[in-house]
Amino acid sequence: MTPAYAFFHWLAQTYLGKLMQGNDYLFPTVEALHIMGSVALVASTSVLSLRLAGLFLTEIPVSKIAGQFLPWAWLGFGCQVVTGTLLFMSEATQAYANVIFQVKMALIIVAGIIALIFHQTVYRRVKTWDLSNPPFSAKFAAYVSIAIWFAVIAAGRWLNSSVANSPVPPPPM
């Protein structure tokens, strides 16, 4: 038994975990909020990515778009972390061994790393290309970011059926 499994098992036994498992209405409600959060998060990052790819709002400076849309992306991300944790707590032990859950988490981490690298390298020099054609690396980051966020949505949808169908593993010794 790995420490991670013990942690997930403990998470499922907490008050919130029990609450999520025991209430028929709580899970769909939190799931609906999770989808609403994904609209805010993915749509606002997509606007920025489309601008970086040179496909959308090209006459507006990149820094201005980033300044106005990223707060909404962070709002959506906060909503996703809170609702996602609640959903996870309701079936933590099933999700533990689930490959799709692991893929989804890995994709989110990769999206975060790409955003961080973009912010620390190309975006540092944004003033030099704010209104001109974005450099190749910015375009590349934009396309990869869009692909990853939509893949995260697809993984989330897949997770919904795969976790529900997966057996409950035995409790840790």
Binding site: A32, I35, A43, V47, W72, F150
Partner: protein, 227 residues
């Protein structure tokens, strides 16, 4: 009277109406698979148990089959409906595309709504945002309509009886009406107020209604699966 034994098949002229009562859950069937006419009205006619279901109606209220039920039944039995219903992976895949579409439609519509409400994006003109975001919203809307019809076709008669599904459709109609009213009234004079950080009251209301309705539609969409 010989009416009780006279087996009359329920039939209509429209193709989607040509369904037998055998498709109504719980309907009484005689040996020929048809129901006796004049043996009762409403529930009695189909010999349905007066099952108590909150907000759910699995069968038409009137003695005649509701045209929407007939339409749902026809759609469900088309090759398209059957294929999606029987396939293990088609429904989830179409649902995923439906989720992609909701991000584009609701996400991009929200930008315009927040601008109209005066909450965010105040330094862009309303007409510029509308001009840029509307093509994406229409793309998303078309994706939603196409994938939505496919999803509906796979379980149409179930959706016919779902209160949440009806609420979702009504909210979509209300959102469309709201957009139409906004376009005809406030948007006509957009040139006079589009640079103001705070839009006129009617435009602010249109934005607020729109964002509430669209997020309500998203919530209802998730709830359909549990209804």
């Amino acid at each position: 009277m010989g009416h009780e034994n006279a087996a009359v098949k329920v039939s209509y002229t429209a193709p989607w109406a040509q369904v037998s009562t055998a498709q109504i859950p719980g309907a009484a069937r005689d040996s020929s698979g048809t129901t006796s006419r004049l043996s009762g009205f409403g529930r009695e006619r189909y010999n349905l148990k007066p099952k108590f279901t909150k907000n759910l109606r699995q069968y038409p209220r009137s003695t005649e089959m509701h045209i929407l039920y007939s339409l749902s039944s026809w759609l469900e039995n088309t090759l398209m409906g059957r294929s999606i219903h029987d396939s293990v992976w088609l429904f989830p895949v179409i649902e995923t595309v439906h989720l992609f579409g909701v991000v584009v439609l609701v996400g991009f519509a929200s930008v315009l709504d927040l601008r109209l409400m005066g909450v965010a994006f105040k330094d862009y003109t309303v007409s510029m945002l509308a001009e840029r975001f509307l093509p994406w919203m229409w793309t998303g809307f078309v994706v939603q309509v196409v994938t939505g019809i496919l999803l509906f076709a796979s379980e149409a008669t179930k959706m016919y009886g779902s209160g949440v599904f009806r609420a979702k459709m009504l909210m979509i109609a209300a959102a469309g009406l709201n957009a139409l009213v906004f376009h005809v009234l406030a948007y006509r004079s957009v040139g006079t107020w589009e640079r103001d950080p705070v839009a006129p009251l009617s435009a602010r209301f249109a934005g607020a209604f729109s964002i509430l309705l669209w997020f309500g539609i998203v919530g209802a969409g998730r709830w359909i699966a549990y209804s």
